[in-house]
Amino acid sequence: MSFGSAYLTLPEFQYLKPKTLQEALQLLDEHKDEAKILAGGIGLLAFMKERLVDPRWVVDIKAIDELHTLRDEGAKGLTIGATSTMNDLLAYEPLREKYKALRDCISLLSDPVLRNRSTLLGDVCEALPYVDGPTPLLLFDAEIEAASVKGRRRIPMSEFIKGVAETALEPNEIAVATHLKSPPEHSKSLFMKHTSSSEFSVVNLAALCANPTKPESRTVRFAYGAIAPTPARVHELEELFKRKTPVSQLIDEAVDVIRKSTEPMTDVLARAEYRSHMLEVMTIKALRRLLGS
């Protein structure tokens, strides 16, 4: 990445603005890797300015009405379209309590002006370790809906990010929406992150809890991101909280589980030891807050 030039320009490309999804999918099928999807553009234009991405075609999907959806279907879950902006999501009432971890995550992303353009699907498709969006999506068992000229398929969030900047999308597929499953009744959720001085996450986590005081019906969910190339749920930790042991002891054990089941990385933002320590501290804080001990 070069920071030498003060004046940042974009490489040459041809701009396309299809009005229907069918048209967009045909364009993508024709141009495949040579085309890039533009929604909010925060990621794409930044990479293009640094010449890390140099597409021949830029396909703007904002004129496609059906991608601008935000639909809460109660127990059947929540659908977020590809071009819904972060500020659309923050203003959307159902996110306020029921999907609070996602809302908290978005409210901490970039800044209010950029959030008029940036999109959740854009964040997820960037698939870089420091993006935050995937972590709360894992918590709500989200699926990414991908469309191509051949049809549609749903990819679980847990299988969507394959590695650094690598997703399960085929070159001719567009991520058109994400579908979140409705969380258990009366559950509470939260999102926390710790960032480097450059404001990139070095650790993030999302956790959810229903019935904290009744072990027989208690549900705990836990996901982390930014510490390794891919985010993940920690199912072993979730199992732990089905036991009748006092909560404070379970939280101690949860930290052991975290230590054993994660492999934090060292990169330009932070060392593995630092990530590992911060994740443990934040895990204790998050679980105490949700389980009230």
Binding site: Y7, D111, V113, R117
Partner: protein
């Protein structure tokens, strides 16, 4: 391959026809082609907020918008907030509080503050701080800017109240 397009953008109420290339940023077109110089280029990375414009009324960082995306839409800059020779309420309060030093970032803060008061007429200090978090002022006149915005909100609310009381009578 066709590399240029004719677009039309309404800038501060005036329709402008511009011949642009697909890869031009709205920031560069507004400054260099349309000659609207209150929109500043600081970082080109969406970090400093100096290139903020209102696109169809909402603040966006124009270094992260393609000029072609603004085709057929409306752009407002600090020049467009009040008629020539006059100040908008928020501009007036920035002047009264001395909420600037070098003035380079001022147009962008004024635009975002203007939008904030249009959607949240009674913001708290922390809401103002949060809303302006995508803008950088290197002179550090944040304190005076926040005072100016609070004062502007207060004055506008009082004026609104007075107007309602008048209609009630």
């Amino acid at each position: 391959m066709k590399m240029t397009h004719s677009i039309s953008i309404k800038i501060n109420g005036v329709d402008r026809k511009l011949e642009i290339k697909d890869n031009e940023l709205l920031l560069d077109v507004i400054r260099d082609r349309a000659g609207v110089k209150s929109v500043k280029a600081g970082c080109w990375r969406g970090e400093c907020g100096l290139c903020t414009v209102l696109l169809d009324g909402k603040p966006v960082k124009s270094c992260f918008v393609l000029a072609i995306e603004a085709d057929g839409r409306e752009v407002t800059t600090a020049e467009g907030l009040a008629p020539e020779g006059q100040l908008s309420p928020i501009q007036k309060h920035f002047v009264e509080k001395g909420a600037l030093q070098c003035g380079f970032c001022t147009p962008s803060f004024v635009l975002t503050a203007h939008y904030l008061l249009s959607v949240n007429p009674n913001p708290t200090e922390s809401e103002i701080r949060d809303y302006l978090s995508g803008h950088i002022c290197r002179c550090g006149t944040y304190k005076q800017m926040i005072e100016a915005i609070l004062e502007c909100a207060k004055e506008q609310n009082q004026a609104k109240q007075a107007a309602t009381q008048k209609t009630r009578r």
